[in-house]
């Protein structure tokens, strides 16, 4: 199905690759830290592509020297939300940039049913298209088990 390629959501960097191991995640984190970016753990069970703002797990982490600290928080988040989507975002606060430089998924549910393509017929035989997540039919917190 074109709306659920490989039964996996592909958002952010590396999302067409197999899941990164913790070791590979650690290397990416260390790369971000080396560039002076602040990392942030975010999670959601509403992975609609237009849902830009995921929930924050704590505040963005500044003044961190070693990747172990970020992995520690990632694991805390995984423990609390084992079948949510969890991503790391790296924020570059340099003046003039002030935006996310890297964002990648570090946890995802076992089953990802994907999205339903909804067609709405409107005046003059026009069709409007939109996506709806199958999982989002369930209330928040009950979507992926």
């Amino acid at each position: 199905m074109m709306t659920n390629h490989g039964s996996r959501i592909t958002q952010g960097t590396f999302s067409f690759l197999p899941d990164l191991s913790d070791e590979q995640i650690t290397k990416q984190i260390q790369y971000c830290l080396k560039n002076g970016w602040a990392l942030n753990v975010e999670f959601t069970d509403d992975p609609h592509p237009r849902n830009t703002y995921w929930e924050m797990w704590g505040i963005p982490m500044f003044d961190i020297k070693d990747a172990a600290a970020i992995l520690y928080e990632t694991n805390q988040c995984r423990k609390a939300y084992p079948s949510h989507y969890i991503r790391l975002t790296a924020f570059d606060s340099t003046r003039g940039t002030e935006s996310v430089k890297l964002s990648f998924i570090v946890n995802r549910p076992k089953n990802e049913p994907g999205f339903r393509l909804v067609r709405q017929e409107v005046e003059g035989r026009h069709v409007r298209y939109t996506l709806q997540s199958y999982a989002a039919d369930q209330p928040e917190g009950e979507r992926y088990r």
Partner: protein, 324 residues
Amino acid sequence: MTEASENNIGIPARDAVAKPAPDDTPVDLEAAFRDSQVQEVLDKLDRELVGLKPVKTRIREIAALLLVDRLRRQLGLTTDTPTLHMSFTGNPGTGKTTVALRMAEILHRLGYVRQGHLVAVTRDDLVGQYIGHTAPKTKEVLKRAMGGVLFIDEAYYLYRPENERDYGQESIEILLQVMENNRDDLVVILAGYKDKMDRFFLSNPGMRSRIAHHLDFPDYAAEELMGIASLMLEQVQYRFSPQAEAAFQDYIRRRMRMPHFANARSIRNALDRARLRQANRLFARADGHLTKRDLMLLEPDDIVASRVFREGVPDEQRPDSAME
């Protein structure tokens, strides 16, 4: 979710255990020692820190242990990650913070901490003011210290038995957990006075059992303090005139007997005040013929003007009296 190991694109695990080698595989301890460049740090320690014999010996022993541990690992022998959490006990100004900094460097060179920085904190940085404040605060500090050394000064203030609702206990519990589970990620050094620290360990056996090395920092003898003074002056390119040196020796002997004596820190403070007096002496001089030597030389006047000589009271007792 796919199994993590399936996705590993060939990156070997850190400190991967090698295949067992035959028992008669030669081992070049000397070369390993040279390669680690730990000698450099140990030499610097010897050069820049006067005295502290027992501490230096312990540090050498720890370095040797870690080096052997690393060689064993390379030869495929079983090794647990050694516990490296330490306690530094001693009176004020005996060099605990200074040595902790060096320790971070040594552990970094031997590959036991990845970044080698030191985060120094006290109770206030770890313990919060209200319910729910302590855990995030303590974790914040622990995260900052990961990859390096966390130095907790006057650690015993974390534990206040007289107040059963004190949040310090919560902080201790998080520390214990991370000290155990994240042994690869950070080394914790607890510091403080010996008697208070002993009492702290008595009431926190969990903490005691996680500390592998107890280092005791002795008070300095008068000659050592003089050595420290010379070293400190050298670093800022000052020196004593011969008479001033005698005066300072006298100063040390008197100051040591007075209250609030803080070993090397008292020496540093005394030298700072001597420099202040020297500057004022130079200004007050009528002739105005100064040479470079005058700017470097401390004279007896700069020392005997101290209240230690005139009233038998340390200057620092009254901060406003530094000029007297």
